[in-house]
Symmetry: C2
Subunit: 407 residues, 2 copies
């Protein structure tokens, strides 16, 4: 058995605590995947622990303190000491990226930071690795969940900015001091990081122009709805002439734009390049467990080194008869009792009807039905029985229906 | 200077030729990123080249022949000889995955296959690496672009399946023999691969139940539209009790489902796990260049080994004054000549108006305008001038508008 990987954890707030839990829960899976078991070594909290000692005695350092001081010193110390670092600290990267990346490059040590941008969406890995050889033209999207929640709520309810902000704070989607989110500064830091990676050029935070959403009025959103537009706070980094433009601003999107349907505290990022056309990725913007999961993904990549050939566990049984909802279309004779007969067959087979529409007359009469979720074998048995009924003018047609509603 | 990486290319059809071109175009960028320059060594075509010789003399083998025979033999030979392999061959992986992965694992050699599933969407990397330590509950989505194009067209035009299929063939979105696409077999092979990776269990192609779209009728789509549903061919792999279910079937989605807006020859995949909630990724389903780009991403990862610290090129200029379209909201006095004055200011500043709505009367009068794209400095100058006009009741409000329409 090989030695465990000792993780030095700097910071034990919401994300830090969630990360420590996740490491414990997933240690077996990580060991199976990589051959080495992760374990939390030292933990630095506000009141306890000695940073230098923790770094010194770890194989890998996870920085979840936030802020740039003393996080910057600790990360530099770890990198210089040859310890790979995973961080979720966007301000640290946006403000001190040049220095940190130079030191990591010189030391030949990995510095990973998937959790710093766009929550659980793996945009850093995709830009750096999947599209590492593509000439990226544009990276843009919704990279702040707080503002997307506020704009979605304002559009849906017609309420004013201040009222919706208060609601967002109550629900935990906005901080007590929401300034950095609502004025665009948080999104600007994330766009500085994305621009740096996409275009292989230093980008400092001061070079990113940003506007926030504080001045958006309910009637802007009302007019937008009439025009078929939806309002998003967008971060955009793109090639322009021989340079690049990196900005954050509220923006109307026409219906049909891939980012238009992104509602609530979600993030979404699009990457455009000639050889890939475009790729859109979306998911929850933040949350302690989601951020911790992105951190753990980076930790696993560092432990694994080369991409492993995926592990195979025990063979799982293939389940074929699963519950589904169904649409059922029946061309029937136009006479009394037809619906009763059909409903009778369905009921006997434990299939419950959600809605029925009778359409057409005479030779065009038909039943269009939607079922509640039921075991597929029950539905198939019912359809087989229905297809023997003498009033059917053609074989029954059925299609599954998915009802889950997302944010 | 380090030695170049010699790539043995097996197959030179559409994707193979696009890959060879892309390697040439991006060789500099790959060398900068990884320290080693890729070059195509031997090429095996139908009429030319000797496979064993090409494999023997290469550092890395790219298999783009399609089919399982002789692709299987060549890939096994390469892996056993310690050469990493990149392939886009979904049938090969779905039918002979167990054997290939076992050999790769024993030889300690990478076998990568991002291009085999979901076109340019990096779903393989994301499942294996970003979510490598997550307990995935469900992977599902639209993994066949041909059928999604056909269903989108049927829904939009009301045309019959056969007519739309003919149109898809003319546009190059469907093969001359579309059987494997329209009957669901192609999607089934992709779902077998995704299920294997997501759940760490062997999944054979015969275990995937699939239905196609050949029997979908125009009136199914017409009723669906009335009900607010859209029809997709879905592949679903999910945990069920202590086993898994892997299926492909046409399915109605309610409005608001993240996959409902995916139209045309696009693919989209969702991954669900407790620690990540859900992530959705979408992009073009196929195309020679897009597939070649996914192959190159895998090649770069193999050359790079450990994830590199991203390279930095020369500093790109930050461009701040870029063209945008704008919405402009003016609360104005309700009197003649107001629109003419505003239009005059805009015109003098080279800002062209796309639409104007006059709303309200008296103290509620306002102009809601949308501009065509113009240089931001021009628009700002116009707004500054407008804000000095005496009939304005409050400061002008402006918001950018994005008009690009996607598929």
């Amino acid at each position: 058995m090989s030695e465990p990987i000792r993780i030095g954890l700097l910071g034990r707030g919401t994300v830090g605590a969630a990360f420590a839990d996740l490491v414990e829960q997933r240690a077996d899976a990580v060991e199976e995947a990589t051959g080495r078991r992760p374990e939390i070594g030292g933990v630095l909290t506000r009141s306890d622990g000695h940073a230098e000692q923790i770094i010194e005695s770890s194989d890998l350092v996870v920085e979840l303190m936030g802020g740039t001081d003393p996080a910057r010193d600790y990360v530099l110390e770890a990198l210089r000491g040859g310890k790979p670092v995973v961080t979720a600290n966007k301000q640290l990267l946006a403000q001190h990226g040049d220095e940190l990346f130079d030191v990591a490059r010189d030391a030949g040590v990995q510095l990973r930071f998937e959790a710093a941008v766009a929550g659980v969406i793996p945009v850093i890995r995709v830009i750096q690795e999947s599209f590492g050889a593509a000439e990226i033209e544009k990276v843009f999207g919704i990279v702040n969940g707080t503002t997307n929640f506020i704009l979605s709520e304002m559009a849906a309810s017609g309420a004013a900015y201040d009222d919706v902000l208060t609601r967002a704070q109550e629900l935990g989607y906005a901080e007590a001091d929401p300034t950095e989110d609502v004025n665009g500064a948080d999104a600007a830091a994330k766009m500085a990081i994305l621009a740096r990676l996409a275009f292989h050029t230093p980008v400092s935070l001061e070079e990113v122009d940003y506007d926030g959403i504080e001045t958006v009025q309910p009637d802007d959103l009302a007019y937008a709805k009439e025009l078929g537009l939806s309002l998003k706070l967008l971060g955009v980094a793109e090639r322009r002439d021989s340079g690049i433009s990196v900005r954050v601003f509220p923006c109307f999107l026409y219906r049909g734009h891939p980012l238009a349907p992104i509602e609530g505290p979600f993030n979404a990022v699009m990457v455009e390049a000639p050889a890939i056309t475009e790729v859109t990725m979306s998911g929850p913007g933040a949350g302690g467990v989601e951020t911790a999961s992105a951190v753990l993904g980076d930790v696993v990549s560092i432990i694994a080194g080369d991409a492993p050939v995926h592990r195979v566990g025990e063979r799982l049984e293939i389940v074929r008869d699963v519950p589904s909802a169904f649409y059922l279309h029946l061309e029937v004779a136009d006479r009394p009792g037809v619906l009763a007969d059909v409903a009778g067959v369905l009921g006997r087979n434990e299939v419950s009807v959600k809605s029925v529409n009778q359409r057409g007359l005479g030779n065009d009469a038909r039943l269009v039905m939607v079922m509640h979720e039921c075991l597929e074998s029950h539905f198939r048995a019912a359809v087989e029985e229905i297809s023997t009924l003498d009033f059917l003018r053609s074989p029954p047609r059925s299609i599954r229906v998915i009802e889950e509603e997302f944010v």
